[in-house]
């Protein structure tokens, strides 16, 4: 088989017209190429320095015991990775950060469901002033995450708006489950506007003929939603899921600004910051946690892409 293929290739090569002589590049074309290259040079340099080099050094440091003050670095093998799970002081902090990060991801499906519901209402219900509501719900998506977290922090204080409005006496910013519930609630509301806009755009792209045809067949609104709308906007769902999970796994502002370092809400990125930057001088450990997080995000994303052909609609 292999020999046949080789023969075919050889025959093909023979039948090819002889190679054209290399066209001489004019001065003007060179100039244009140079200008084009200069245009893309800044982002390439930026990428090499701030992304590629950072990634390479992070991987290197994750195998080193590095002291940034004395600038002494010694090879530590897998010690930093093992310390993340076995150290009596750092281990529990890392495990807690992992659990917190995963629990807080619940806001991703919640925000998608809320966004979908809102988009459905605005699309089907022909709500008066729907543009106003679109702007209103989308506002958190274009607002500063820090500003939003500060406002939400005030809302969730024991004497804050949430308890006052609902007549509750709950300490939301406690270290247990309540602070996680508060973060999931606020993140769901913050992200639902963005989801709503994308879902609405997806719904507007669904051909009305499909709805008309299904109506003739006797399908109700609910059936139409589950059998036509939802499958046809599945690319939007896929996009929101991918970006939501990646963003959620890299969450930091919730721990730092909203929770002020409260151990009930520390995320993996917050742990990395705490160990590598805040003053613990554990750059090796922080790098190891960063590498693990990056690998985990890659695996989650790959799995999603892998299974996407089973549920994501493609024309």
């Amino acid at each position: 088989m292999q020999s046949v293929e080789l023969c075919d290739r050889a025959a093909g090569a023979e039948s090819l017209p002889s190679r054209e002589p290399k066209k001489k590049v004019s001065k003007q074309e060179r100039r244009e190429q140079l200008i084009a290259f200069l245009f893309i040079l800044p982002p390439i340099i930026g990428f090499l320095i701030f992304t590629a080099l950072s990634v390479i050094f992070t991987v290197i440091y994750s195998f080193q015991d590095y002291n940034s003050l004395s600038n002494i670095s010694t090879f530590a093998g897998l010690d930093n990775y093992l310390e993340l799970f076995t150290s009596p002081t750092r281990g529990p902090l890392f495990r807690k950060a992992v659990v917190n990060t995963i629990v807080l991801l619940l806001s991703v499906p919640f925000s998608m469901i809320l966004g979908l519901a809102l988009a459905g209402l605005l699309r089907l219900g022909e709500v008066k002033g729907s543009k106003f509501f679109q702007v209103l719900y989308y506002l958190p998506s274009v607002s500063s995450a820090v500003a939003l977290n500060i406002v939400w922090n005030y809302i969730f204080r024991s004497n804050g708006l949430f308890n006052t409005v609902f007549g509750l006496d709950v300490i939301w910013l406690d270290e247990g489950a309540t602070i996680k519930a508060a973060i999931i609630f606020k993140n769901s509301l913050n992200a639902m506007g963005g989801a709503m806009i994308l879902y609405l755009a997806g719904m507007l792209n669904v051909s009305s003929e499909l709805y008309e045809a299904s109506s003739l067949d006797g399908a109700g609104k609910l059936r139409q939603f589950f059998s036509i709308t939802l499958p046809l906007i599945s690319p939007v769902t896929f996009y929101l899921l991918i970006t939501g999970l990646i963003g959620g796994l890299q969450s930091y502002a919730d721990s730092q600004v909203f929770a002020g370092g409260n151990s009930g809400a520390t995320t993996i990125v917050y742990f990395i910051w705490q160990q590598g930057i805040q003053g613990n001088n554990n750059q090796g450990l922080a790098s190891a946690a960063s590498v693990l997080l990056a690998v985990f995000i890659m695996i989650v994303t790959l799995i999603q892409f892998k299974v996407s052909n089973k549920w994501v609609y493609e024309e």
């Binding site: 590049v25 060179r30 290259f37 910013l173 406690d174």
Partner: protein
Amino acid sequence: MIKRFVGAILACVLAVTCVAACSGRGDEGNVVKPEDPIDEPVTINFWGWGDLAEQENYQTLVNQFMAEEGNENITVLYRGMSSSTYMTTLRASARNLPELFYMPDYDFLEWVSSGLLKDVSAYVTEEELSQLWPQAVDEYYYNAGTATLGQSEGASLYGLPKDLGPFTLVYNKTLLDRKIEEKGLDAEEIYATYLNPEVPMTWDQFRTLLKSLVTDKNNDGTPDDSIYGISHYEIETAVYSNNANFFNEDASEQRITDPNFIEALQFVADLTLEDHVMVPAALQSETDGFTRFLNSGCIFSFMGPWDCAQFWGFDIAFESNILPVPYNGDNPDAMSTAWVGSMGYCVSAKASSMQTAAAMRLAKYLCTNEDAQRKFYELGQQVPNIVSMAKDEYVNDTQGLLEGKDPVDRSVWVDTIDGFSEDDKIGGKVRPRYYTYSSGWYDDFLMYIDDQGLWTGVKTAEQICNAYESTFQSTLDEMIANLG
């Protein structure tokens, strides 16, 4: 073409890198001795932290220094930062430090042992040092040969103290008087028995006082009028005031299983759990203690001299005063002992001799100059470094600069700094983190006891400390190994 272009770019990058690598600061032939005049232009960068008001004050003093120095060759570029970002920025700049910068005492050992700070012994005379608080100066000595802190044979001076600040008890007098009246208590007796600036309260007295002022009829942990007795309690203060510590003298052996240590920790927890007079941990994470105090959400809290600036600028509508911290009256070896924090003016090890000379002139001006020290206490930033000035001018306000400004009993701060002898009833101690290579262990410990439920009563201090013993010992061993 493209290849040649990329080659040219790489060549440029390499050239720039080489030039940058070769342009390290240092003396290039012209070594300036400490006593030599500075007759060439020299620029020094000075980094500090503080709120905006403090940064402005520093800029004013730096300008004053440049004007008074009369040496047009010295230019100081002051850069003030917020306290939260300062150490992060400084760490990130460890390879290219400014010539002069603040160094908190609890990070001093790590930085000095890493060789990043300059030995400035030759730039200060004994006479200049003798007018300062000796314990403050002592903090910035380090013996590189034995890797030990404090003055000893062979030790050198690696910084000058910016300040020495005791963190003592403060009370909202207006709120306290209102509470006394509401509860029908005898104000005269309370002030005489409990609120004497020269006689510290015992823990029992403090608990009795708080319980008489705060009532929780439905026993739900929240005072009936939501005004707590105290915002929080400083762990180090409780531990020190029961004659205990986190470790032994050279920080090589843990002492958290010492019954006195455990008793101190349990005392703090019981203020919430049993007495319901202290803000629960969950609410403490919502609003920090001092902010709650400023908003009249509690009667007592803790404050240091540096808080005065914020206090005076906050436009608060209440009177306040300070007290020595309570101690365990049942322990015959215990005395009122607050933690005393400090910060140093340190010089980068990479600074040239001329830059060091100029930086030390500025450091000495800020640290020992009477006018500068007067300005600092007038602005509510510190107790003067000059002992004679602190004990008389500052305590008695002989210059009339603190008239009408709280706290009135500033002698408490001076007594706390000064109280190191055995006869003293009131004293102070440096924070334990000062003695260890790194300071992260303290936060780890706090997180652990919090996580184990000390503040919610899930476990007792004894259970938690016993369980953490080996971990803490390993941490100490690791830090000693890092120190070499």
